[in-house]
Symmetry: D2
C-alpha cells in the first residue's frame, strides 16, 4: 500500500472540512435578524448532522455582532456571514474523532481543527 | 409619467418573485431528512419574512415525497429541492396584497402568482 | 374572471423578481477576487438566462468596490455580495417586457423594476 | 504537545474538505443547461482557487448525464447537483499536498481523498 494512501485520521479531518464548507456556503447569504437567528442556527445544525460521520454540530449566531451590523445599515435584517457565527462540529470516522471550530480571529471567521483523537479501544 | 413606469400592483408582484427566488436558491441543496425537515422549513419561513414587504411565508416539506426520494438512494438523507416543497407567501406593498404559491405541476415545482388584491380602503 | 387574477404585466414582474432573487441567493457568498470576478459574472448571466421567460441578464462586478473591500481585510479575496454587483435583467412574458436593475442606493443593493412595456404589435 | 494536536497532513486534509464542501453547496441548485455548463464550471474552479492553500481545482460538468436529466423533464435546463460533476482539487499546506476527487459511485457523488503526499524537500 502506497504511503500516499490517506489514513483514518486524515479521512476524519477531510470529513470535518467537508461539513464546515457545506455549512458555511449553504447558509451564507440567508436573511437574518435577531428574531430569526435561532431558527437558522437550528436548521444549520440539523442539516449538517445529516451528513455522513457527523455526530454533533453546534451553531451560535452572536446576537451582539448581528445587532451591531444591523445598526450600521438602514434595514432591519442583514445577511448571514461567518462573522456572526460560532460553530463547533464533531466527526467520528473509523475510531477517530475530529473536532473543528469556527470563530472570529482578527475579524476573519477562521475554521480550525482543534483535536484529532483515537476513540477506539 | 411614462406608461412604462411600474404600478403598485406590478411592484408587489416583483417583490413576491424576489422572495420566491431567494427562498428557493438560498436553501436548495441543504441536506434534509425526515427528522430535520421541520427545522429547515421554519428557518426558510423566518428568513424570508425578514425581507421587505413580506408579511407571511408558509413552507411545508412533504414528508412522503422526501421519504420516497431517500428510499431510492443509499443514504439516509437527500438534498432539498423544489419537488419536496409546498410554499405560500404573501406580500403587501402600498395597499396591494400579492399571494404566490409553489407546488408540483407535472413533476415540476412551479412558482405561481395566485392573487393580486387591493387592500387599501 | 375574478379581478384578483394576475394580469400578464403582473406575471412578467413576478418572473423578473424570481430571477433577481435566484441570482442573488444562488451566488451570494461565492469567494471572489479581482481575477475571478469575470468568471462568476458570466456564470451568473448564463445560469439565470436558462430560466423561463428570461431573455437577457447583464452582471458587472464592480472592480473598485471589490478591491476596496479586499483591502480592508487580511485575505486576498472576499465573498460576493450585492454591494459589488450591478445587474440588469429583461423578462418577456406574453407580449410584455419587464426590465429590472440592481444597484447601490445609500449603500444598500436595491432591486428595482425600471420598466414594464407592451411589446406585442 | 498533546497527541490530539492536528498534524500538517491532517490540516491539509481538513482544508481539502472545506474546499469540497464550499464548492458543492455554493453552486448546487444553479440553473444549468448544456450551453451554460462551461461557464459554471469555470466559475467554480476560479472561486474555490481563491481559498487559502488551494492550488488547483478542475471541474467538469458531464454533458451526457446533464442531457439525460434534462430529457426526463419538460424544461430546457435543470439544477446543478453532484451527479453531473467530476471534480479534482489540490491543496498544499506546510509541505503537504492533499488531492481529492468527486465522482459518481453507485449513483452517489462521492467526495474522496485520493493522495496525501510530503512535497517538502
Amino acid at each position: 500500500m502506497s504511503d500516499i494512501t490517506p489514513t483514518d485520521p486524515q479521512e476524519a479531518c477531510f470529513e470535518a472540512g467537508i461539513k464546515f464548507g457545506s455549512l458555511y456556503h449553504q447558509f451564507a447569504g440567508t436573511p437574518v435578524s435577531p428574531s430569526s437567528a435561532a431558527s437558522v442556527a437550528q436548521a444549520m445544525e440539523e442539516a449538517i448532522e445529516n451528513q455522513p460521520h457527523c455526530v454533533d454540530v453546534t451553531v451560535d449566531v452572536d446576537g451582539d455582532r448581528l445587532a451591531a451590523d444591523i445598526a450600521e445599515g438602514s434595514a432591519s435584517y442583514t445577511e448571514l456571514t461567518g462573522r456572526f457565527l460560532d460553530v463547533t462540529l464533531v466527526i467520528e470516522y473509523e475510531g477517530v474523532r475530529a473536532t473543528a471550530e469556527m470563530e472570529l480571529v482578527d475579524g476573519y471567521p477562521l475554521m480550525q481543527l482543534t483535536a484529532v483523537e483515537d476513540i477506539a479501544q
